[in-house]
Amino acid sequence: MSTMPTPPAAELLASVAEQLKVPLTTIARQAELSQLTDQAMDAGLLQTQATVALTLVDSYLLGLQLLEAQGSLALEPVSVASTLYEVAHQLHGFARTYGVTLDLTIDGRYEPVMAHRAGLCAALTSLGYALVEAQAAQSAGGRRLHFAVHRGAGGIVAGLYGSYESLGSAQLRSALALCGRARQPFTALAATSSAGIFVADTILQAMTTRLRVARHQHQTGLAATLLPSHQLQLV
């Protein structure tokens, strides 16, 4: 095993490639099943999976751009609430095919955060794909995921929460460090979900934030802390 660090772009590509295997394999096997059993394909499922694959490809391309621009990325005031609405809407159909319900909670009003809008959207979407798959695979804990915003010590925290066994900060740190070097870096989740989390984290890093394990209303999940725009103006 090589001990040389892998370039971030190569790790990003490897993670996206891992994550892409799921929707593409699903489409192939569903099409085959339809031919085998002479039954109509589930067109809704195929469309959803194809959309996932295309979104992942776009996330990779955006991630590359952000990695290249890291340090000189132009951030702008972004409404976290509207971003979460958009992401939840995009994920809704996908989650439904996995039998997972997505809730969205935005208590109160939040000032805009300094972020790259498309990047934030892509990161939260990639996170959503990963955690929906992971939630559906769990034997216990129900089938509900919860997008939420709340105010934290470092800024505004936007995340996705559910009931995940063995999801801890140490495991997340170790998984992100091993991504691209371990076949299943995050053993709490299936390997393809780990890849999705890595994609989300890579994009967020370009915005000088990262995913971390967080708790919200008795649920555990992954979240990013974003700096409100008025704080930056004071610096």
Binding site: T26, R29, L33, A191, T192
Partner: protein, 128 residues
């Protein structure tokens, strides 16, 4: 007709494999994790196991060692059908075959349902 245990964490893929195996005349149970797979096998001993290695919590290899430690499951054929790339599986192929009784190793993204069905049939024939 045989009883097949499908160990697959993605519910859509699981449905595809279950659908194909049922269409081929088998009785099928699906489990999304190693723990659920042990529970399912405990409920009804399978005639063959179709196994993804990259499972949440406990991996497929841990499942295999646990599964084989029970004498009543020692001879149940196992077919690996995994996202793990072929070159990684090749490096451990001998141990998988000789120590863990793995009859076949399939690379999931490039293995059709037809090949899965034929491989399962071959295992059942060999075991009979």
């Amino acid at each position: 007709m045989a009883h097949v245990l499908v160990v697959e964490p993605d519910i859509h893929l699981a449905r595809a494999y279950v659908g194909a195996l049922q269409h081929a005349g088998h009785q099928v149970q699906a489990a999304g994790s190693a723990q659920m797979a042990i529970h399912a096998a405990d409920t009804q001993t399978p005639d063959v196991v179709l196994l993804e290695l990259q499972l949440p919590a406990h991996g497929g290899i841990e499942f295999l060692y646990e599964f084989r430690s029970y004498p009543e499951w020692g001879a149940v054929p196992v077919v690996i059908n995994s996202y793990t790339p072929p070159h990684v599986l090749a490096s451990v192929a001998d141990t998988l075959r000789d120590e863990l009784g793995v009859h076949a190793v399939l690379y999931k993204p490039q293995t059709s349902l037809d090949v899965v069905l034929r491989t399962v049939a071959a295992c059942l024939k060999g075991a009979a």
